[in-house]
């Protein structure tokens, strides 16, 4: 293995071991913060070690042992992170679960993982778990963090987090040797032990439990730390679901291996303020977050006065021109440098300040393709935002964009210690120390994903460009062909559409059909703001989506995409011939999106079969009725007549000329 010196583990191969190492080395450095009761409550590494020890010993006294599974359910809270380490110290395996998933989904995961204990956030989660006690017969104890509303519950098998910790402290007080024994317990552990089980939500089928070993996580994390020069002085904001590999690696594995501080926000409605207060130095967000921030900036700037907007536009142009070059360390004319400096004072600095990214050293976006405009916007501000490509099965890292080698349409070079190849089918495959151990109780799936010599199928189709960077085209299984034989990569088209702020979602159809047609969702914030400015009245999403002006606006976007497509010889055949704007927003509650907000293509195809039919039978409108689930769980139906528009296509290469004229 080609690990660099500082990435080596010195025998600290499991997180409990790393914890006790950190407690010694970084004892008085802040390890965790949580905005609670109005201030950032802080814990140093040695305090964290003590907290975890007490809780862990308490858990043991409740009967948790090696090999047991512990479900972790709730929002990002230090105590829930600690619970994972506390379980690992006993040889148990934590299983973080998406706390907002519906009971049915959660019950399946918990039942499949055979969890014995659950550490949860509050009453809501306790109630949820109690309601599924029949599906999860293995569950014996629930531990909650927030006592509110739970006082009158039967506490035979229900415990407060503090009670458990108190018990642990009591036991330690009674038996001085206990702390030592506890540490000895995990010093016997090996790096190859299972550290955590993460269930991937998957676009199809039941979730699968990805088993990752300590080695997988710790080695990947150390490599990433070295790659981006991260050390114990970093600050990160832990706000993404704990059940997601990204958060697990960024907020736990890398935090522990580098020794940096993890900050948990007060709540989802204070996240913007909390981010600004902390100003993370290492920041990760899916493209959606960056998109939203940009949309907000643009919407708010629309309301600014004329001069201010002119100033903003002027300096943003300067930034677009030279910002990235300066960031990449390229030569830039002196005058531009001065202008950029001025812009930094007047616009970029304040913007970064408002977003809370002033101190950001490195930022990553992944999960989906980010719009090149959006990506460039942040880079132009001088933010070192980069893309990476990863998977749960790889302990995140497959490829990374190295500093100075940033290209909007590629996802970077292989991460340290990662080998990459493209299979004959076009599928991207990799092998690395982070490759997962296997799917829990699903050998069949493990075998079909991971070859005997350690190569993993990503399921994505891609190419390695001349500069060695990986370019992802689409899901391997989604890449299809039109009836005339042209290549049809739906995701590629959809992403191009979604890069327009007005378009929130797109679903493209075309495989084994005569032409490409798409469903669109408009972005209510962006289009709503446009409507306000143009005195367009609307009462609902549905009404706005059906508005003729909105249709024409969207039509121009689609046309632009067709132009773009026509300029790429491989994709030119798959220009959009027809489109419609859906009468409702695609929603995870209706099963149309996954919990990570990815579209579920086949589900949508089933659900809106009549609309697809209409797209391909040439009709100009179609009446539909759709069942929906409201926020409060009630069901209902909405009806609408949806308009369908035809599009002109462009000849290969002609698009460019027209655009140039």
């Amino acid at each position: 293995m080609v690990g660099s010196a500082s990435a080596s583990s010195h025998g600290n191969d499991t997180f409990p071991k790393i914890l006790s190492h950190n407690a010694k080395v970084f004892g008085s450095r802040t390890a965790f913060r949580e905005k609670d009761f109005g201030i950032w409550q802080s814990w140093t590494w040695s305090e964290v070690c003590e907290e975890i020890r007490a809780f862990s010993i308490g858990l043991k006294s409740l009967g948790l042992g090696a090999g047991d599974k512990v479900a972790i359910v709730g929002a990002n809270r230090p105590r829930l992170y600690w619970a994972m380490i506390a379980a690992q110290a006993l040889g148990a395996v934590p299983v973080p679960v998406y706390s907002d998933s519906v009971a049915e989904e959660m019950a399946y995961v918990l039942g499949h993982a055979e969890v014995k204990f659950a550490v949860v956030e509050d009453q809501e989660q306790v109630d949820k778990l109690l309601s599924m006690s029949d599906e999860v017969p293995s569950l014996t104890n629930i531990i909650y963090d927030e006592v509110r509303g739970l006082r009158d519950y039967d506490h035979t098998h229900l415990h407060g987090y503090e009670t458990v910790q108190e018990k642990g402290r009591q036991l330690q007080a009674n038996d001085g040797a206990l702390a030592g024994q506890w540490a000895e317990g995990f010093f016997g552990g090996k790096g190859s032990d299972i550290a955590v089980m993460l269930y991937t939500s998957g676009t199809t089928g039941r979730p699968k439990g990805v088993m990752l070993s300590f080695d997988n996580l710790a080695v990947s994390a150390r490599n990433a730390n070295v790659f981006d020069h991260l050390d114990e002085s970093e600050e990160v904001l832990a706000y993404l679901p704990m059940a997601w590999i990204g958060d697990h690696v960024f907020s736990l594995a890398q935090a522990f291996t580098a020794g940096y501080c993890v900050n948990c926000p007060e709540g989802m409605d204070t996240i913007d303020v909390d981010r600004r207060e902390i100003a993370p130095t290492y920041f990760f967000a899916p493209p959606r977050v960056f998109e939203n921030m940009l949309t907000q900036i643009m919407v708010r700037m629309e309301d600014a006065g004329k001069t201010k907007r002119a100033m903003f536009d002027f300096f943003m142009n300067v930034a677009r021109k030279v910002g990235e070059k300066i960031l990449n360390g390229e030569e830039v004319a002196f005058g531009d440098r001065v202008l950029y400096r001025l812009g930094e004072f007047l616009v970029y600095g304040p913007l970064k300040n408002r977003m809370g990214l002033t101190r950001m050293k490195v930022g990553y976006t992944a999960g989906e393709a980010i719009g090149p405009e959006i990506f460039r916007f942040y880079r132009a501000l001088g933010l070192n935002l980069k893309q990476l490509y990863g998977q749960t099965e790889a302990s995140v890292y497959i490829t990374l964009q190295p500093d100075g080698e940033i290209f909007g349409d590629t996802v970077g070079k292989p991460a340290p210690d990662v080998e990459l190849k493209i299979a004959d089918s076009g599928e991207v495959m990799y092998r690395s120390p982070g490759v997962f151990v296997g799917y829990f109780k699903n050998d069949e799936a493990t075998e079909s994903t991971k070859t005997s010599d350690g190569w993993v199928h990503t399921g994505d189709a891609g190419i390695i460009a001349e500069n060695g960077h990986l370019k992802i085209i689409d899901r391997a299984k989604d890449v299809g062909k039109l009836n005339d034989g042209s290549l049809f990569a739906p995701k590629y088209i959809e992403n191009k559409l979604k890069f327009f702020p007005n378009i929130k979602e797109a679903v493209a159809f075309g495989h084994e059909r005569d032409m490409v047609a798409v469903f669109l969702n408009i972005d209510l914030t962006a289009v709503g703001s446009w409507a306000e400015r143009n005195n367009v009245n609307y009462a609902s999403y549905q009404e706005l989506a059906a508005h003729p002006d909105v249709y024409s606006m969207v039509e121009s976007h689609v046309d632009q995409v067709n132009r773009d497509l026509s300029s790429e010889p491989m994709m030119a055949g798959a220009q959009i011939k027809r489109f419609l704007i859906l009468h409702k927003e695609l929603d995870a509650d209706d099963g149309e999106l996954t919990r990570t907000q990815k579209v579920r293509r086949s589900f949508i195809a089933d659900r809106y079969a009549p609309l697809i039919e209409a797209l391909y039978d040439g009709s100009t409108s179609k009446h539909v009725r759709t069942e929906v689930t409201f926020e409060d769980g009630r069901k209902g139906a909405i009806e609408a007549t949806v308009e369908i528009r035809n599009m002109e296509t462009h000849d290969v290469g002609k698009g460019i000329q027209e655009a140039a004229e």
């Binding site: 609670d36 009761f37 109005g38 109630d127 109690l130 006690s133 029949d134 999860v136 017969p137 293995s138 569950l139 014996t140 509110r148 509303g149 006082r151 009158d152 519950y153 039967d154 035979t156 098998h157 229900l158 007060e266 709540g267 409605d269 204070t270 303020v273």
Partner: protein
């Protein structure tokens, strides 16, 4: 056989019936008039420790006047008030506060110039004692006291889920949130008896549900006795343990919600049958 199916029940065990409750406040034969206009005529009722007591009645029935009598703002011409077993003399409103009676108001009476945090902190006034000279110096005792009470206030903010508006001046908040802040301010007094004057007036359904939940939580988490005036009969019937019905300043019914609902006098009063 799993452990939870039988042994765990999400419903709290109901102990109210088992233990007879102590009397917290009793009003005997109270009458109140303003310059010859009778607002309250010969009313008697009691409030038991730990219960939610509702006072209902049509407009102008004397409900708010009754609350004003209880917290010493009005002085009845006749009748006695017994508070925690002792007959109460004529007292000032601030004395009622120091004896553990807090209230909210029909039309939100927040301190408009202050933030949410300061408004709730103001509820701690009675429990803070550092004198003027410590306040001048600030460092040391005054600051420590402030921090100690800030912690308490933050718990209330957390309890009422108003973290996001902690530092917003209350004048800028929507009405529903103002009501919540006002409840927080009353809670900060850690009262024995909490008087709520139409806590849900002017709220939409969702806000009403939130407020109901908070009222029940207050009652259960802190064991606070609550007397509330409310127009929304549905809410009253759901929340309260016992209900007093007033009409034209007289008591026309008193008892558990279901009894009161069936009472002919009450039905007449609400339908406006003339006397």
């Amino acid at each position: 056989m799993n452990a939870f199916a039988t042994e765990m029940s999400a419903e709290p065990a109901s102990v109210a019936e088992a233990v007879p409750r102590e009397e917290l406040l009793r009003v005997d034969n109270v009458s109140l008039s303003f310059g010859g206009v009778k607002a309250i005529t010969d009313i008697s009722f009691d409030i038991l420790k730990g219960e939610i007591r509702a006072i209902i009645g049509p407009n102008g029935a004397g409900k708010t006047s009754m609350l004003n009598v209880i917290n010493g703002f009005y002085h009845p011409q006749q009748g006695t008030i017994t508070w925690q077993g002792k007959e109460r003399r004529k007292m000032k409103p601030y004395e009622a506060a120091s004896q553990g009676i807090a209230r909210t108001f029909q039309n939100v009476a927040l301190f408009k110039g202050m933030t949410t945090l300061d408004n709730i902190m103001s509820g701690r006034s009675l429990k803070m004692h550092r004198n003027f000279f410590w306040q001048l110096i600030w460092r040391g005792p005054a600051e420590r006291e402030e921090i100690e009470h800030r912690k308490k206030v933050e718990e209330i903010i957390d309890f009422l889920e108003i973290q996001a508006i902690r530092k917003t001046p209350v004048g800028r908040l929507p009405y529903g949130l103002q009501k919540r802040v006002e409840l927080g301010r009353a809670l900060a007094m850690e009262p024995d008896l909490l008087l709520l004057d139409e806590p849900m007036a002017g709220m939409n359904l969702e806000e009403k549900e939130d407020m109901s939940r908070f009222i029940i939580d207050v009652n259960q988490e802190f064991g606070t006795t609550i007397a509330l005036i409310e127009h929304d009969m549905g809410v009253v019937m759901d929340l309260s343990d016992r209900v007093v019905v007033l009409d034209y300043g007289k008591k026309i019914a008193d008892g558990p919600p279901e009894d009161v609902q069936a009472n002919q006098n009450v039905i007449d009063a609400y339908l406006g049958v003339s006397h």
